[in-house]
């Protein structure tokens, strides 16, 4: 009976230790698991596949280091898919501290794909104002971004010549760990009618399903699972696909703890 009492009241430090091991061991042992592609990730992928060459895509970086393990693989796969399709990318965002982080991936993938700054992509950097900036771009992007992240006038770049507002963009892709994804839909998609899909953390993904069902966004890439699926579709399995076994084992372990807790709880209730 002592064991059952112990099961009902496991010290939280033991739980912490077990979770730490459940995540670390599969990564160290390089376990692999098959990935199932969901419809919402496939439709996000196909949104880009169906864009004509030369279309402009606005990528908004609304995440920072906290959610980088989930969102970085999505951003890299997105860049690879866009440059392969010869699309043009406008890089901006609403987290001052997140933009420099994703810039590493931008620099890495643009070098890998041979994309040219100012012709194939541009980094507009950060401006304070959040929703004000989102709505403002709907009229004229230069009202907020007259210069790029290094202070060079945007009009000096060939790709910005015909870009004034959302009417000149074929798609918005938001990479968010907060409500920025919802703000883009509420303030921009519904107002200016531009197409969009969302790349978000696992915890935020359920929030966006109503918008997907209503047809306001064309797809959702959610959490490490979504990132792994997107990596498989783009044909570059990396950190997300390789991280799934660790997440699988951790989920199993949490369920096991819940079961232990309940066994202990029932036995102690019966005793009473």
């Amino acid at each position: 009976m002592k064991v059952l009492d112990w099961l009902a009241n496991i010290d939280r430090r033991l739980i912490f230790l077990a979770i730490g091991l459940a995540v670390a061991i599969p990564i160290i042992m390089k376990l692999r698991m098959p990935i199932r592609i969901s419809s919402e990730v496939r439709s996000a992928y196909e949104t880009i596949e169906n864009l004509p060459e030369g279309s402009v895509v606005l990528a908004s970086i609304d995440y920072d280091a906290t959610s980088a393990p989930e969102l970085t693989p999505m951003f890299r796969s997105f860049l690879r898919q866009c440059f392969r399709k010869k699309l043009k990318i406008i890089y901006t965002g609403h987290l001052a501290i997140g933009l420099p982080l994703a810039q590493f991936d931008l620099d890495m993938v643009t070098a890998e794909c041979g994309a040219v700054y100012g012709e194939d992509y541009i980094n507009l950097g950060y401006r304070p104002g959040y929703t004000a900036v989102m709505i403002g771009i709907g009229r004229e992007i230069r009202d907020f971004f007259a210069v790029d992240y290094k202070g060079v006038p945007v009009d000096s770049f060939p790709m910005m010549k015909d870009i004034h507002n959302y009417g000149d963009m074929a798609l918005i892709v938001d990479f968010a760990h907060g409500t920025a994804g919802e703000y883009w839909i509420q303030y921009v998609v519904s107002r200016f009618g531009v197409r969009m899909f969302s790349c978000v953390t696992g915890v935020m993904a359920p929030t966006l399903y109503p918008y997907l069902q209503a047809g306001q966004i064309t797809g959702i890439i959610g959490g490490l699972q979504g990132a792994a699926e997107y990596e498989m579709l783009v044909g570059n399995p990396e950190s997300a696909a390789f991280g799934m076994p660790a997440q699988s084992i951790a989920h199993l372990l949490i369920i096991a703890f819940i079961v232990f807790g309940n066994i202990g709880y029932f036995i102690s209730r019966r005793k009473k």
């Binding site: 912490f16 730490g20 420099p100 403002g136 399903y209 949490i254």
Partner: protein
Amino acid sequence: MKRDIPIIITFLTGFLCVVAFFIPHPPLGDLQQRFLIWYAIVYGFTMVLGLDSLLKYNIKKITQRKEGWQYSYVLLFGLALVLVTGFQSWFKYGTPFELRSSFMYSYIHIIVPLQATMFALLAFFISSAAYRAFRARTFEATLLLVAAAIVMLGRVPIGKMIWSEIPVISDWLLNIPQLAAKRGIQIGVYLGGVVMSLRIILGIERTYLT
């Protein structure tokens, strides 16, 4: 009078922004864009307020030797370090965000690991909270528990390996009951937001005007 002027400004700004949503004709369309630019500029300057408060708070802690006062030195040092590296990188490269700059070096090697560590703690907290809270006390709690377990398994590859229908049931749970409840709460939240905004624009809600 002290309260009337802010209420008039609130009414005019709110009303004009609502009207500009329906009327694109100048000067209304222009006016809204102007408000948005003002907001972006004002917001940028509010960081000075934050800096002032942060300094006051930590200097007080040091001078009064409050518990953990030593950490305030660490904080002030960190603040100075980011400022110095930021300006140095700006002068050297024209932007602090140049990847070779000292600012980016401190960002990548200090801020990024700190942020990632804090977020990673969530995995531990969520496990202990789930263990503590998920007890099948009632019928509803049991339903919640079973649904949570299915969704957790359905969102990872191992779910399909255990039983091929788990991801299908998980998708159904996410798309039907979860979505219905979420929509219900969201409709309430947005409607509440609209009515609260109306109260503010009409000057009925004044608690924030102290």
